[in-house]
Amino acid sequence: MTKISKKDFKDIVAGIGFLLPNICGFLAFIAGPLIISLAMAFTNWNLELHNVFKTEPIKFVGFGNFIKLLTEPDFFRYLGNTLFFMMGIPFGIGGSLCSALLLSKNFRGGSRRVWGMVIVTVMLIVSLGALVITGLGGTAMTMLICGLVGVILLSGSIGGQTIYRTLFYFPYFTAGVATFILWKKLYSPDTGPINNALKPLLNFAGPRLAAIPPWGAHLCSGILILLLAAIFIYAAWRKFLLWRDGESGTLSLLIGLVVLSTPVIFSCFWSQFKSVSFLFPALLIMVGIFIVYALLSGREHQCPLDRGMANAIVICGAAMIFIFILLGLSNVVYVLPQLASDGLEPPQWIADYYWAKPSLMLMGFWGAIGSNNMLLYLAGLSGVSQELYEAADIDGASPFQRFWHVTWPQLANVTFFILVMSVIGGLQGGFEMARTMTQGGPAGATTTLSYYIYTEGFATGRLGYASAVAWTLFALIFAVTAFNWKFGNRYTNE
C-alpha cells in the first residue's frame, strides 16, 4: 500500500464529492437491497405467514429455498421456457445483420430526383398491374398494401437511408406495453387480422395437403432428417478440423459435440417428439464413430483444452438451433396429411399451449430486425475499410465470398458483443410480454424466470423463495459474463 499524501487525500475528497449522490443512491437502492435480498434467499419469508395479522418470526432455512428450487420441476420448466425464447436470438441477430447489410448498400444510385421518378414510374406500373391482376376494383387490401409499399419506396428514394432506418427501427423503439397490446389484438384467434388473412389460405391448402399420400409425407420428413444429419456432420467436421489444427481445444470440441447433440437427446426424452426416438441410437453411433476417428487420426498441433471455446459455443449453438427447427419441422410434416384431413384451422396463437412461445418469438423477431443491433452493425460496416473489399474484388471473390471472408470476420467484434448482451438480456427477459399478453400462460407455457420471480415475489408473496430464484438467475448471468470475460477477447481476436 502506497502512502496517501495530503494532495492525494484532497483529490480523493474532490473525486468522491462529485460521486456523492451516486454513492447514496448506490447504497440505498443497489448495495443495501442486494445484501437484504441475499439474506432473504435463505429465509422462509412469506407474506402469507408474516404479515400484519400473523407476526410469526421469520425463520432462517439455510439452503432450503435453493434445494426446493432445484428439486421441484417449476424452476427448470421456466428456465427451459426462458432458454426456448432465447433460441430466437440468432434469428434476431441475423435479421438485424441482413437489414444493416441492405441499408449499407448505396441504393440510391445517382441523383435523387431522377431516381425518384424511376421509382414513381415503377410504383405506378406495379400497382396498376396488381389492380389488373386482382380484377379492377379488387380488394381494398391490395390497394392498401400497394399504396404502402409505394409510399415507402417514394419516401425512401427521396429521404434515403434515414427513412428506411427509421422505419426499420420503428418496431424496436416503440416496443413496450403498447405494442404488446397491439400484438395481442393481432394474434386474436377469432377477430385478429392474422387469422383473418390465414383462413382463406388454409382453406385453400387444407384439402391439397390432405391429398398427399403418407409416403410422400414420410419422404419429406426423411429428407428433413437427412438435412439435419448433414448439418450435424458438417458442424462436427468443422470443429474436428479446428481441433486437428490446434485451433480448438479438446474440451471445447467435446462441449461443441454436446451442444450439437442436445436437440436429439432433448426430443427423444420429450413427449412431443417421441416419434424420432430412433434418432438416439443413430446419434450415439455417429458420435462414437466421430470420436474414434478423431482419436485414430490424431492431431497435428496441440493446444490448451479450452481454446476456441467461444467459437464452439457460437458455431455449434447456431447449428443446434437449425437442428432443433428441422427436427420440429420433420415431425410436423410427418403428421401433416393426417392433420389436414379434417381441414386446417388457423392456430390459436398465444392462446395455444404449443403456439404461444413461437408466437411471442415471432413478435420478438419483428422488433429485433431493426433494433439497436442493426445500428451497431451499420456502424461496424461503415468501419470496414473499403480497401479490403477492393482487395477481395481483385482477388476475384464472389459477393458471398466477399461477405464471408471480409465482412463477417470484420464484424466478429460487434457480433460477439451483441450476442453476449442479448444472452444476458434474454435470461432476464420475457416479463413484460408475459404480463401483458399471456399472464405466463397458457399453463405456464410463456412463464420465464423473470415472470416467475414476479409472481412468486409480488403475487403469492413468497419473498424468500423469489429471492432464491432471483439469485440463481443472477448466478446464470454471472456465468455468461464470466464466459465472455474469459473467452470473449480471444474469440474476437482469432
Binding site: F26, R165, G176, N196, W366, L427, G457, W471, T481
Partner: protein, 280 residues
C-alpha cells in the same frame, strides 16, 4: 434516362434493392398500419376481413379520454412527469459521476469505476423485492418519489457520459485551472456544456426507457390516478379489452411521444448507441 446511370443490370440491381428494402419496411410497419386503421373503425368492423373502415371514426381518439375508469389523460401526464424527473436526475447524477471518473485524478478511481460498471451487470430483479419492502417501510408506496428515486441513478448513463467526456481534450482542464476555475466551475462552465451531445443522448435513452418502464410502476402504483401509461394501458386492456378500437387509439397515442422524440433526435440517438455500444 437510364443511360446516365449505367447498364440495365445496374438499374435492375438498384431497383430490386429498393424494392427489397421497401417490402421489409412495409412488413415491419404493417402492424402499425392495422393499428391506425383499427383505431378509426367502429367496434363492429374490427373483426371483419377488410382493414379499411367504412367511415373514419376519428372521434374514437377523443372517446378514449371519456371511458369510465380510464384516466388516460392523467396517465399520460403521470408518465411524462415521472419520466422527465427521472431523466433530469439521471442526467445530473450521471454527469457528476462521469466527471469524477473521467476528468478528476484520484487514487483508486479506476477501481471504483470498474465496481460501478459491475452494477450494470446486476439484474434489476434481484433488487426489486427488497426495494419494494423498503418502500413499504418508508411509506413511499403509491407515491411519485417512490417511483422516481430508485431510477434516478444509472450506471449505463455514467458509462455513456464518461466515454464521451474522456474524449474532451485534457488541455481544456488545464486552461481552466490556470484561468482560475475550481473543480465545480470546471464541471459547470466547461465540461458540462461540452458534453451536450452525450446529455442529449442520455436524455433520450432515459426518457424512452422510463416512459416504457413497467415492472417498477406496476408494483409501486396502487391507485389508478397514479398509474403511468404502461400500467394504465394494462388496466385498460384488462377492464375494457373488448373495445379494440378505443384500445388501439390509446396505443397509437401512447407511442406518439416516442415517435416524436425519435424522429426529432434521430441523429443524436444513433450516435449515442454507437458510443454506448463500443466496449470500454
Amino acid at each position: 434516362m437510364f443511360k446516365k446511370y449505367g447498364t440495365f443490370s445496374k438499374v435492375a440491381k438498384l431497383l430490386s434493392l429498393n424494392i427489397a428494402l421497401a417490402l421489409i419496411a412495409a412488413t415491419l410497419v404493417l402492424p402499425f398500419t392495422w393499428m391506425i386503421l383499427a383505431s378509426v373503425k367502429t367496434l363492429e368492423e374490427i373483426g371483419l376481413d377488410s382493414w379499411l373502415p367504412r367511415i373514419f371514426q376519428w372521434n374514437n381518439y377523443a372517446d378514449v379520454f371519456n371511458v369510465k375508469g380510464i384516466m388516460f389523460g392523467r396517465w399520460y401526464w403521470n408518465s411524462i412527469f415521472v419520466a422527465s424527473w427521472v431523466t433530469f436526475l439521471q442526467v445530473f447524477t450521471s454527469s457528476l459521476a462521469a466527471f469524477s471518473f473521467s476528468r478528476l485524478k484520484w487514487k483508486g478511481r479506476d477501481k471504483v469505476f470498474l465496481m460501478y460498471l459491475g452494477t450494470m451487470m446486476l439484474p434489476g430483479l434481484v433488487m426489486m423485492i427488497p426495494n419494494y419492502q423498503n418502500m413499504i417501510r418508508f411509506g413511499l408506496i403509491n407515491t411519485y418519489p417512490g417511483l422516481i428515486l430508485p431510477a434516478a441513478f444509472s450506471a449505463f448513463g455514467t458509462f455513456l457520459m464518461r466515454q464521451f467526456m474522456m474524449n474532451i481534450p485534457h488541455s481544456l482542464d488545464e486552461a481552466a485551472e490556470i484561468d482560475g476555475a475550481s473543480k465545480w466551475e470546471l464541471y459547470w462552465n466547461v465540461i458540462l456544456p461540452l458534453s451536450r451531445p452525450a446529455i442529449v443522448t442520455l436524455t433520450i435513452f432515459s426518457f424512452m426507457g422510463n416512459y416504457n418502464s413497467m415492472f417498477w410502476p406496476l408494483v409501486m402504483m396502487k391507485s389508478p390516478d397514479k398509474y403511468t401509461l404502461p400500467i394504465g394501458m394494462l388496466a385498460f386492456d384488462s377492464s375494457q379489452g373488448q373495445q379494440t378500437n378505443l384500445l388501439m387509439a390509446a396505443v397509437a397515442m401512447s407511442v406518439i411521444p416516442m415517435i416524436l422524440i425519435f424522429v426529432l433526435m434521430q441523429k443524436q440517438l444513433v450516435k449515442g448507441i454507437m458510443l454506448g455500444g463500443v466496449k470500454g
